[in-house]
Every structure is written in C-alpha cells, then in structure tokens.
C-alpha cells in the first residue's frame, strides 16, 4: 500500500500544496491573500480532490513557510530553509547552492550531502525580492509574468542607480517619461535585482551547481541576469514554486520512515481536516 505525504507551504504571496507518494500525485498553487487559516484547509481540500484522496489517506502532513503556524491539520511545522533544501536535494541533487527568490524575501542556502550547512536571508528590505519586480512592473504598466521576457528584448541596458525599491520606481518612471524604452529599463531592473541577490548569496561562498527556486525562478530575465552575474548556467526545477512543498512532504516521509525503522511512533496532529474546517 502506497503511503501518501503532503507538504503545505504558505508563503507571504503564494500558497503551495504537494501530495506525494514516489512522485507528485497532485499539487495546488494559489495566492495566499490575508486569511491564512481558512486558506490552508481550502487548498488542502483542493489538492485532495485533484489527487482523488481523502484526508485520512495522507500518512503525514508537514507545513512550512511564513504562514506555517496557521495549518491546524499539520503534523509538523518545519522551516522553509530545511524544506527548500530537501526539495532541491530531490529535484536537483547536483545543487550545492540554492537561491530562493520569493514574493517578499530572498534566501541563499548552502548544501552539503543534502543538508543545510549555511544560509543567508533578506526579509527586511523589498529590494531583491519579488516585491521589487511587482512594484516596477506596475509602474511600467507591464504584466508581472511578461517583464522577464521583455527584459531580454532590450537594445541597450540602463543602469539603475537606486537600490531602494521606492527610488528605483521613481527612477524608471522618470526615465520612461524621458523616452527610454521599457525593455531597456526592464533589463536594467533585472540586472539590479540580480546584483542585489548575488551580493547577498555571495556571503556563503557560492559553489556549483547553483539552483534557482521560488517565484523568481519563473522569470527568465532574472534567471539570465543571475547567470550573467555568476558567470555560468544555473539549474531551475520544473515548477520552482513547489520546491518548498515538495521538500516538506519528503521530510514528512523521511520522518515516518525513520520512526518505522527505530520502532517509534510519530505524533500526528489531533485535529483532522474536517474539524479544522468547522473552526474556521
């Protein structure tokens, strides 16, 4: 009988669920919004429906991410650093350095033998996070999922002198009014965010292979800008937003297997999914 494991990753911007056995059985990705408690139940129900499973068939649930304390049916909460590391270790085992660019933070993680040996994070300043790109995209009137591709169409690059998101926004708006092409501005912006992220991750002494994950990894302009800074190509998982949820599910499986081997039993959450829904 197959065992199913679930990982729930509630990020500041996006929520991700992965249900796994040997591989991914079902996954859900959606915007987090303000209401976390109901959200966790809703995405879990959605994922179960996609998987054709009932909640009782899930052996173990691990929650991670900024909103992990608001997953009442989780058996365990584990930090995003550990979950991302575990996820990349499974998806891209050659990676020694992970760069995660999320909606409101960015992280660098060093791996050795699949374990986290060092990490660095910025969750204080919007520059270097997805928020930076969101603000600029809005200011330039380009859809967020198009800015990366458009940035690659630049004819010449514009240097953005401001690190701060607020001043960078001012700068691009003023340059746009002067007639600088949007593509050129976007190229400058992607270079600016790549520089900032690279500067942070470089404190860890970057080792190949480097994997990029998180929402930022879906931006081809950002990936290319990071490659330009690094001087080599990077690895990107097929669905970068799911790395944390996949890692969480796998960590759940690791714990269950370890417990089975040592003859111990694992504590599971007492509240089941349907009870949790009543509470919310």
């Amino acid at each position: 009988m197959a065992d199913f494991f679930a990982g729930v990753d509630i990020g500041s911007t996006m929520t991700k669920v992965a249900i796994m056995d040997g591989g991914i059985v079902a996954s859900v990705i959606g915007p987090t919004g303000p209401e976390h408690r109901k959200l966790a139940n809703r995405v879990m129900e959605e994922a179960l429906a996609k998987a054709g499973l009932s909640f009782n068939e899930i052996t173990y649930v691990v929650a991670t991410g900024y909103g992990r304390i608001n997953v009442p049916f989780a058996d365990k909460q584990i930090t995003e650093i550990s979950c991302h590391a575990r996820g990349i270790d499974s998806l891209l085992p050659a990676a020694r350095t992970v760069i995660d660019i999320g909606g409101q933070d960015s992280k660098g993680i060093k791996l050795k033998d699949g374990r986290v040996v060092d990490f660095v994070m910025n969750d204080k300043c919007a520059a270097g996070t997805g928020r930076y790109l969101e603000v600029i995209a809005e200011a330039l009137g380009v859809a967020l999922d198009e800015i990366g591709q458009r940035s690659l169409e630049a004819k010449s690059e514009v240097a953005i002198s401001s690190t701060c998101t607020v001043f960078a926004e001012q700068e691009v708006v003023s340059k746009l009014a002067e007639g600088v092409p949007v593509e050129d501005l976007l190229a400058g912006i992607h270079k600016a965010i790549a520089t900032r992220v690279y500067g942070m991750v470089n404190r860890l002494k970057i080792e190949r292979e480097v994997a990029i994950t998180g929402g930022g990894a879906k931006n081809i302009g950002l990936v290319k800008a990071l490659e330009a800074k690094l001087g080599f190509q990077v690895l990107v998982p097929p669905e970068p937003l799911l790395t944390g949820a996949i890692g969480a599910a796998l960590l759940g499986r690791d714990m269950v297997e370890e417990a089975a081997q040592s003859g111990l039993s694992l504590t599971r959450s007492e509240r089941r999914l349907h009870e949790a829904t009543f509470f919310s």
Binding site: K124, A126, R131, V135, T163, C164, T165, V166, F167
Partner: protein
C-alpha cells in the same frame, strides 16, 4: 552693505538665501525640476525679487548641493556638509550634533566649537530611513503631507509597524486601515519608526548636545516629538529647516568677500 547669496540645489528641492552680513534678507524654496539649470535660475531670480535686489547687487554667490554646478551665476562651490554645519552653527551656536532628514536620506554631522564638521555619517538611500517614507504613507492614508505631523500627535494608541521597509509598510498601513485603525494611530507608529531609524544612525557617531534637527523632515512636528521622545532630549529646530545649507553657503560667501576686502584694503 554687502549682499551675498547661498544657493543649495538639492535633488528634490532648491533653496536660496540672500544675506547682508547681519541677517537673512530673503529666501526662496522650490522643487528641483528636471532641469537643474532652469530651477537654479528661477530660484535665484525669485529670491532677489523678494529682497528687492538685482543680480548686480550680489557680491558673491556660493553654490552647494547635488546640482551646484548648474548655478550659472556661482562664484564658488562649497560642500553641502560644510554648509549645513555653518548654517546650523550660526542659528544655534550651542549645537554640536546636526541631524538632517532629507527626502532621500538622513545625515548626521558632528560640529566643533567653530561650526566646522568633525564627523559625518549618512544613511543608505533607503525610503524608510528618510522623509520619503512620510510621503509614501501620507499618500496611502490620503492625508496631506503637511498635516501628518499634527495629526499623529492626536493619537491615543500608537500602532507600531512590524517592518522597517517603506514598501512593506505601505502594505501594512493598508491592512491596518482595512482592520479599522484610525489614521492618527498609524501615523504615530510611522513617526516612531522613522525616529527609531534616525536614533540608530545617530548612535553610531555618539550624540553630543545640543542637537539640531534640519531638512524637510524637521517641519514635521510629529517627527520632532518622536525623536525627542525616543532619544530623551530636546531638539533645536530652525524656523525654516530647509534653508540651513543655503544659509551656510551664504555665510561662507560672506567670509570670502570679507577676506577679499581685507586684502584689497590692506
């Protein structure tokens, strides 16, 4: 009577002070538009008009600030820091520490007894550590920037921000409003947050009394009070805090003229 002019062309605002050796005759402040050259011309013309003087009446024009090189009529250029120090020291002879809260960054100056700058530190170009964050939140709360200070003082229960970033603070402010928070309480939290950042900066140079607050941020009574509260001191605040560097430039200009005259007279 010798007249001099100090012209401070900042990234956001341009300021001119006309000085007669004894007192400020006139001053003028305007936003720095795209062309610093045009702005410089305009603000100088306006200040002269207010003083009832013509360009020929000015013995020396000292330029300072980011756009100093754009002042066509300049006779010399002085560093903005030295101008700030001179100006603050003239207004408040007892001042030894000057905090300048501008629209893009905050500076701290330590002065000696003569008003010369001994030490200087400036913040990163970070919206949350400058007057910029006041603009951002004022806009989000739909309150006039000129009024946020006074309004913040009406707060009965300050709501502190969890973030130190202006971008995230904007989101937080919107959430607080959606939850029913009143503007004065959010503004109290805003002023407190900026005051805390300023305090961190000042601590790095070790504050020496007396301490003056200058720049656009000094016009915000809420910020003045927040800094006084968090740092446990009384601040010296000029009547027009934005013209301190321009005044300092004028004073340095006056010194130049005086020493030239001495040489000429023998």
């Amino acid at each position: 009577m010798v007249h001099v002019a100090g012209v401070d062309i900042g990234a956001a605002f341009s300021k001119v002070v006309v000085f007669d050796g004894n007192k400020v005759i006139s001053y003028y402040i305007a936003p720095s538009s795209g062309s610093y050259k045009d702005t410089a011309e305009k603000v100088v013309a306006e200040a002269l008009a207010k003083a009832g003087l013509s360009a020929g009446d000015i013995a020396f024009t000292m330029a300072t600030g980011y756009g100093a090189a754009n002042v066509a009529t300049r006779d010399g250029v002085a560093s903005n820091i030295s101008c700030q120090g001179r100006g603050a020291s003239y207004l408040f002879p007892s001042v030894r520490t000057v905090i300048d809260v501008g629209g893009q960054l905050t500076k701290v100056l330590k002065l000696d007894d003569e008003g010369r700058v001994r030490a200087f530190l400036q913040s990163e170009r970070c919206a949350a550590g400058s007057g910029k964050v006041l603009q951002v939140i004022a806009r989000v709360l739909q309150v006039d920037l000129e009024e946020i200070g006074a309004l913040s003082l009406k707060s009965r229960k300050r709501i502190d921000f969890n973030t130190g970033c202006a971008v995230f603070a904007e989101t937080e402010a919107v959430s607080r409003v959606a939850e029913g928070a009143v503007k004065e309480d959010i503004l109290a939290g805003l002023h407190r947050a900026l005051a805390a950042k300023i305090q961190t900066l000042v601590e790095r140079v070790r504050l020496e009394p007396d301490c003056a607050l200058v720049g656009g941020g000094a016009r915000d009574i809420g910020l003045v009070k927040s800094i006084e509260e968090i740092m446990g001191l009384k601040l010296l605040v000029p009547e027009e805090p934005r013209i301190v560097a321009a005044l300092g430039a004028a004073l340095i200009a006056e010194e130049k003229v005086a020493s030239t005259m001495k040489i000429n007279i023998g």
